[in-house]
């Protein structure tokens, strides 16, 4: 087949596409993932028993705000990286800045606490469960985001995979925050961040093989 004939073939018929296809494809995946993850987390782990009372405390909302901020920034990055020829953009730098602030505030919390209670402030009582459950909840979301990205056209595969992983981690951690009854910022700064970093790293690792499209 000559190139001319290929062009005539491709141009014949309907070439129209709906505007904002990239955003809509990713947003649909995120909305479904958020809903299903909430259902699964609440059905299997359950909401914390004192949810109503806890919701009166600022710490409850900070614990939710961290994953939601990670999710929002990762969505912005994934959206850009889903199109060829775009870089990660400001999202990565903002994410690093956010982490720096989070760790600085957490470190100040630890430093100002009495020496005897410092370890408990960081370790809490559910560190391992927190990391494992956030990472586990994020895996199906990561898979769904990979499927979505493959229908788009990422060309910077590890970056796109990391963004998808961080987005999956953010959604999973936000859902997990409704179950978790830890109430210190240092705990969030270490274990929530680790829980979200695992899918991000996994996404970057798996991307060269699994995000490849033809």
């Amino acid at each position: 087949m000559k190139t001319e004939a290929l062009i005539a073939m491709l141009a014949r018929g309907e070439a129209r596409v709906a505007p904002r296809s990239v955003e809509r494809r990713l947003a649909a995946t995120v909305a479904t993932a958020l809903l299903l993850t909430l259902i699964v987390a609440l059905a299997t782990l359950g909401a914390r028993k004192d949810l109503g009372a806890a919701a009166q405390l600022p710490m409850f909302w900070w614990k939710l705000a961290v994953p939601l901020a990670v999710g929002t920034l990762s969505f912005a990055a994934a959206r850009r990286l889903a199109s060829p020829g775009r870089r990660t953009g400001a999202a990565a730098a903002l994410g690093v800045a956010l982490l720096a602030v989070l760790w600085a505030v957490a470190a100040a919390d630890v430093a100002s606490a009495p020496a005897a209670t410092r370890a408990a402030l960081v370790l809490g009582h559910s560190a391992m469960a927190c990391v494992a459950l956030i990472a586990t909840l994020s895996l199906p979301i990561l898979a769904a985001l990979f499927v979505a990205l493959r229908s788009l056209a990422p060309t910077r595969l590890p970056a796109a995979g990391a963004a998808a992983g961080a987005l999956a981690g953010g959604i999973a951690a936000a859902a997990y925050a409704l179950h978790c009854n830890e109430m210190t910022l240092p705990f969030v700064a270490v274990w929530y961040v680790l829980g979200m970093a695992i899918p991000a790293g996994l996404g970057a690792q798996l991307a060269p093989r699994w995000l490849r499209w033809a």
Binding site: L10, R12, G13, S21, P84, G85, R86, L152, A214
Partner: protein, 183 residues
């Protein structure tokens, strides 16, 4: 260089709203730029050039929904070209890790030369099309090659109109996958 950006961008934006003539012009001009791009980079295997041009045109078509109207067009185009080039180089030397610059501005910062004289392609996409299952092949042949309407094609193939549309869409993606496999 700005002229190329403006021209191609205007053509694609028209094409995405359903202007078939603008789309043909977009693909033809893009093809000429892609040919020059690949000829420069495949000096040692010039007979791969036209195959790669065709594969990239197919990718531009299949991935046209990923062009975001706020972004520059030429970096989008050349990022897809580079992606296809890296694929080819990896296939040529699977043992060596091919190092290709991933700088997305690379293509855009060149003078965007064009080359309108195609070489012979080695791989025949029509033959590859014949290997696709009927649900993909028939809609493409009837609508995209013979120029029949979706309704006519549906009647001729005994499929629903929706199945014809899906068949074209999936079939062209399948064709791209098969083309990149058979190097």
């Amino acid at each position: 260089m700005e002229d190329v950006e403006e021209t191609l961008r205007a053509l694609l934006l028209l094409a995405l709203t359903g202007d078939g003539a603008a789309y043909a012009a977009f693909l033809t001009q893009s093809g000429a730029h892609l040919r020059a791009y690949f000829r420069r980079r495949l000096v040692t295997s010039p007979n791969e050039v036209e195959d790669l041009v065709q594969e990239t045109l197919l990718a531009l078509h299949n991935r046209r929904h990923t062009y975001q109207t706020t972004q520059r067009l030429t970096p989008w185009l050349y990022a897809i070209a580079r992606y296809k080039l890296v694929d080819l180089l990896r296939a040529q030397s699977p043992r060596r890790q091919v190092e290709v610059s991933l700088d997305d501005d690379e293509g855009a910062s060149e003078l965007l030369p064009a080359d309108a004289s195609p070489a012979e392609s080695r791989r025949d996409l029509l033959k590859l099309l014949d290997t696709l299952p009927d649900r993909h092949r028939l809609p493409i042949v009837l609508v995209k090659l013979e120029g029949r309407s979706v309704a006519e094609a549906a009647a001729a193939a005994g499929m629903s109109e929706a199945a014809v549309k899906v068949g074209i869409h999936r079939g062209l993606k399948k064709l791209a996958v098969e083309a990149s496999k058979r190097r």
